[in-house]
C-alpha cells in the first residue's frame, strides 16, 4: 500500500474504505503528534511536581528557598488538569475524527496549528512565571490573590488556542455533513464534536473571567475585582473541564473498546443520548464547588445539587452499555454460561486492560463524587485532602488510564509502527503499577481527609496539635504512592518513546467499533448541534443568571489585589 504522503489527493468528504486505509493524511498525523507530545511532557513535569509535593507534605523533604510548595502545586495543577487534558483531547480527537471522516479539512489543519502555537506559547509563559515564583496562586487562581499579569496572559493564550481548535473541529464536522446529506455522522465524530462544544462553553466562561476581569485588574487598569464572580466563573469552566475529559475518555470506551474485544457498539443511539445529556445538562455542576460559599442561597444551592446529579444518568447508561458490549462480544463467540464471557475478554491486551481498569476506578470515583456533591456531607469533606484523593481517582486514574490505553494504539498508529509483545507486557505492568500507586496515594488521601487534614497545605503538623497527630501516618503512604506513581510515569514515557521512534514499522489500526446497525440508527436530528447548544445554553442560564445577576447588582465593594510573589 502506498504511504499516505504519496497518496495523490487528500481524501475529504467521504468515508474512507476502512479495509484499505488504516492511516490518515500525513498533515493530520503531524498535528496530532505535536499535540500529544506536549501532553506527554506535561505529564512528566507535572508528575515530578506531584512526587516532590508528596515528600514535602509528609515532611521528608525541604524545598530550596527559591521555590515554594505552592509554586510546585500550581505547576502540578496547571500542567496536569489544563495543559495535559487539552493537548491530549485535541491530539486524540483530531486523529480519530480524521480517521472516521476521511481526513481533516485543510482549514482545520490551519486552525489546528494556529491553536497549537498559541497554546504552546501560553503554556511556556505560564510555566515560566510559575517556576519563577511569580504566580503562587494555584491552578484555580482565586482572586483577589494576584499573580504576575503575564501569567494570566499565558493562560488566556492557552484558552484562545483551544477555541481555535474548536473552530477547526467544527469546520471538518460540518463540511462532512454537507458532503454527506442524509447520513448520520460516525459515532466517534459525534463524540469529538461534543467535546469541542463543551470546550467552547468552558472557554467562554474562563475567557470572560481572565480576559474580561482579571487581566485589566492585574495590569492595574481596574482597581478592584469581585472574588465571588471569579469563583463562579472559574468553576463554570472547571467543572465543564471535568465533563470534557470524561467525554474524551468514554469516547474510547464506547467506540474503540468494542472493536478491541471483537464485539460491536452496544447501541449507537443510546451512546449519543448519553453524550447529549452530558453536554446539555451538566455545565452547571460547577456550583458543587461552592456549596460552602457565602452569597448563594440555600435554595439555589439545592437546585445546583440536582443539576450536578444529572450526570448520574449518562454514567448509569455507560455502565450498562460497557457490560452489555462485553457480554455480547462473548456471546457472539459462542459463550453460553452466565459469566463465561468475562473470562474470555482479552485481558492480556494492554489496550483493553488499561481501559477496563480505568472503568473500575470510576466506580469508587463516582461514588466519591456523589458524596462530595451532597450538600450537607460536603461540609465534612470540603477542602480536606479527601477531595484531592477523589480527583486522583477520577482524572488521575479513570481518565489517565484511559489516555494511556488510547496511546497504545494512537501513538503507533501515528508513527506507523507496531506494539511489540514486550511493550504490551510493559504496558500491562504500567497499568497495574499506576493503579496500585493511585490506590495507595488516593486511599491515604481519602482517609486523611476524613480525619480532617486540609488540602493544599505544605505542612500539616500545626505545631504538634493532637488533632493533627493521626495524619502523619497516612501522609507516609501518600509519599509512598507518589514514588510508585512516578515510577509508572517513567515507564509510560519509555513505552511512548519506543512506540513513537523505535518499535518495528508496521500498520497499527485505530480501532473503531462497527458504527450502527440499521435498525438502531439515531434519528438524523441528533446531528443538529444547534438544538443541543440551545438546550445547553438554557440549562446554563437557569443555573447562572440568578447568582451572577445577584453578584453584579449586589454592591460588593470589590477587592484590591494581594500579590502572591
Amino acid at each position: 500500500m502506498a504511504h499516505v504522503s504519496e497518496l495523490p489527493t487528500r481524501p475529504t468528504g467521504k468515508v474512507v474504505d476502512r479495509d484499505t486505509t488504516t492511516r490518515i493524511p500525513i498533515e493530520d498525523v503531524r498535528l496530532s503528534a505535536a499535540n500529544l507530545s506536549i501532553a506527554f511532557l506535561a505529564l512528566l513535569f507535572g508528575g515530578l511536581a506531584g512526587l516532590l509535593q508528596g515528600f514535602v507534605r509528609s515532611g521528608y523533604l525541604e524545598l530550596p528557598s527559591w521555590i515554594s510548595y505552592y509554586a510546585l502545586l500550581t505547576a502540578h495543577g496547571v500542567l496536569l488538569v489544563l495543559v495535559l487534558s487539552s493537548f491530549f483531547s485535541i491530539g486524540y480527537l483530531y486523529a480519530g475524527t480524521s480517521k472516521v471522516l476521511g481526513g481533516l479539512h485543510p482549514k482545520t489543519i490551519g486552525f489546528g496549528w494556529a491553536g497549537f502555537a498559541l497554546m504552546s506559547v501560553g503554556t511556556v509563559t505560564a510555566a515560566f512565571f510559575i517556576l519563577a515564583g511569580k504566580a503562587n496562586v494555584l491552578y484555580t487562581f482565586y482572586t483577589p490573590m494576584q499573580a504576575h499579569p503575564w501569567f494570566y496572559v499565558g493562560l488566556s493564550l492557552i484558552v484562545v488556542g483551544i477555541l481555535l481548535n474548536c473552530v477547526g473541529m467544527f469546520i471538518t464536522y460540518q463540511s462532512w455533513r454537507k458532503n454527506n446529506p442524509g447520513k448520520l455522522t460516525p459515532l466517534f465524530a459525534f463524540f469529538s464534536n461534543a467535546v469541542f462544544v463543551l470546550w467552547v462553553f468552558a472557554s467562554l466562561f474562563i475567557a470572560v473571567f481572565v480576559v474580561g476581569l482579571v487581566i485589566p485588574w492585574a495590569f492595574g487598569w481596574v482597581p478592584t475585582i469581585d472574588p465571588m464572580i471569579g469563583r463562579t466563573l472559574f468553576w463554570a469552566f472547571g467543572h465543564t473541564l471535568v465533563n470534557i475529559w470524561m467525554l474524551t475518555s468514554i469516547s474510547a470506551w464506547y467506540v474503540s473498546m468494542p472493536k478491541i474485544i471483537g464485539g460491536k457498539v452496544f447501541s449507537d443511539s443510546l451512546a449519543r443520548v448519553a453524550v447529549v445529556i452530558l453536554v446539555v445538562a451538566n455545565v452547571p455542576g460547577g456550583f458543587h464547588h461552592q456549596i460552602l460559599d457565602p452569597g448563594l442561597s440555600v435554595g439555589l444551592k439545592f437546585l445546583h445539587v440536582i443539576q450536578t446529579f444529572m450526570i448520574i444518568f449518562p454514567s448509569l447508561m455507560t455502565a450498562f452499555a460497557m457490560l452489555a458490549t462485553m457480554e455480547w462480544a462473548g456471546r457472539a463467540k459462542g459463550v453460553t454460561s452466565l459469566l463465561g464471557w468475562w473470562k474470555i475478554l482479552p485481558w492480556k491486551d494492554a489496550r483493553f486492560f488499561a481501559l477496563i481498569v480505568a472503568m473500575f476506578a470510576f466506580i469508587p470515583a463516582g461514588l466519591g463524587g456523589i458524596i462530595n456533591a451532597s450538600n450537607q456531607i460536603n461540609q465534612v469533606v470540603h477542602n480536606s485532602i479527601w477531595v484531592t484523593g477523589h480527583l486522583h481517582l477520577t482524572v488521575g486514574t479513570t481518565v489517565m488510564l484511559t489516555f494511556f490505553g488510547v496511546s497504545y494504539w494512537l501513538v503507533p498508529f501515528l508513527s506507523g509502527r507496531k506494539m511489540t509483545k514486550v511493550l504490551n507486557r510493559l504496558a500491562i505492568a504500567q497499568t497495574i503499577i499506576w493503579a496500585s500507586g493511585m490506590l495507595i496515594m488516593s486511599g491515604a488521601m481519602h482517609i486523611n481527609g476524613l480525619l480532617g487534614s486540609p488540602r493544599r497545605t505544605a505542612d500539616t503538623t500545626y505545631g504538634g496539635h493532637n488533632a493533627a497527630a493521626d495524619w502523619a501516618f497516612y501522609e507516609m503512604f501518600m509519599a509512598l504512592g507518589g514514588i510508585i506513581l512516578f515510577g509508572a510515569i517513567v515507564l509510560i514515557v519509555y513505552i511512548w518513546t519506543q512506540l513513537a521512534f523505535f518499535a518495528p514499522k508496521g500498520e497499527t489500526d485505530f480501532p473503531i467499533g462497527e458504527d450502527f446497525s440499521e435498525k438502531d440508527a439515531s434519528p438524523l436530528f441528533m446531528d443538529r448541534w444547534s438544538i443541543w447548544v440551545t438546550l445547553g445554553v438554557i440549562s446554563i442560564a437557569i443555573a447562572y443568571v440568578i447568582p451572577l445577576f445577584d453578584f453584579i447588582s449586589g454592591h460588593n465593594p470589590g477587592s484590591l489585589p494581594f500579590l502572591m510573589f
Binding site: 505552592y70 494555584l138 482565586y142 483577589p144 490573590m145 469581585d226 472574588p227 465571588m228 469563583r231 447501541s267 443511539s269 443510546l270 460552602l292 460559599d293 457565602p294 452569597g295 448563594l296 440555600v298 444551592k301 439545592f302 445539587v305 446529579f309 448520574i312 444518568f313 448509569l316 447508561m317 450498562f320 451532597s374 450538600n375 450537607q376 460536603n378 461540609q379 465534612v380 470540603h382 477542602n383 480536606s384 480532617g452 486540609p454 488540602r455 493544599r456 497545605t457 505544605a458 505542612d459 500539616t460 500545626y462 496539635h465 488533632a467 493533627a468 435498525k519 438502531d520 439515531s522 434519528p523 449586589g554 454592591h555 460588593n556 465593594p557 477587592s559 484590591l560 494581594f562 502572591m564
Partner: protein, 155 residues
C-alpha cells in the same frame, strides 16, 4: 432508538434511588435546617477591621449557653486568637476577610465555611465535648497558609 428491557429496569432503579436520595437531602435542607452555610450580606474588605461588627470583637454571651463571636480571617491568622468556651455552649460565628479568601474549619466538627472577601459568612456550632479543638484555614491563602490556625478550648 430501542432501549433494552434490562436497561430500562436499570435506569428506573437508578432514578428511584436518586429521587429518594434527593428527597432526603431536600428534607434535611428545607425542613431540618441542615442546609449549608449560605449567608448573603456584603461588607467592604478594606473596612472590615474598623467595622462595628468586627472591631473589638470578643466572645459575647447572648443567652443561656449561647454565645456570639465575630472573627476576622486574615493572612495568616484568625482574630481574636485562641479562645475558651464552656462545654455545652452554642457559638454563632460571624466571619469576614479583609484580604483574600480563607477557609474556616474546626477539627472534629462539621464546621466548615468559606470566607470570601466582600461577604460575611455565618456558621453555628454546639460544643458538647470538652477538649482542645483546632481551627484551621483550609483554603490556600498565600505562602503562609499552613500557619493559619488557632485553638478553641472547651471546658
Amino acid at each position: 432508538m430501542r432501549i433494552h428491557h434490562y436497561e430500562k429496569l436499570w435506569l428506573m432503579i437508578g432514578s428511584f434511588i436518586l429521587i429518594i436520595f434527593l428527597s432526603i437531602l431536600a428534607i434535611q435542607t428545607f425542613f431540618l435546617d441542615m442546609g449549608p452555610p449560605s449567608h448573603a450580606q456584603t461588607i467592604n474588605p478594606e473596612t472590615v477591621r474598623e467595622s462595628e461588627l468586627f472591631a473589638n470583637a470578643a466572645l459575647t454571651e447572648i443567652g443561656e449557653n449561647e454565645y456570639k463571636l465575630a472573627i476576622i480571617a486574615e493572612m495568616f491568622a484568625f482574630r481574636p486568637g485562641d479562645l475558651e468556651i464552656p462545654a455545652g455552649s452554642t457559638v454563632h460565628f460571624t466571619l469576614a476577610s479583609p484580604d483574600v479568601t480563607h477557609g474556616f474549619k474546626i477539627s472534629d466538627t462539621n464546621v466548615n465555611v468559606m470566607v470570601v472577601p466582600g461577604h460575611i459568612s455565618k456558621v453555628s456550632h454546639t460544643f458538647s465535648e470538652p477538649g482542645e479543638y483546632l481551627i484551621l484555614c483550609n483554603e490556600y491563602c498565600g505562602l503562609g497558609h499552613e500557619y493559619m490556625a488557632n485553638t478553641i478550648t472547651v471546658k
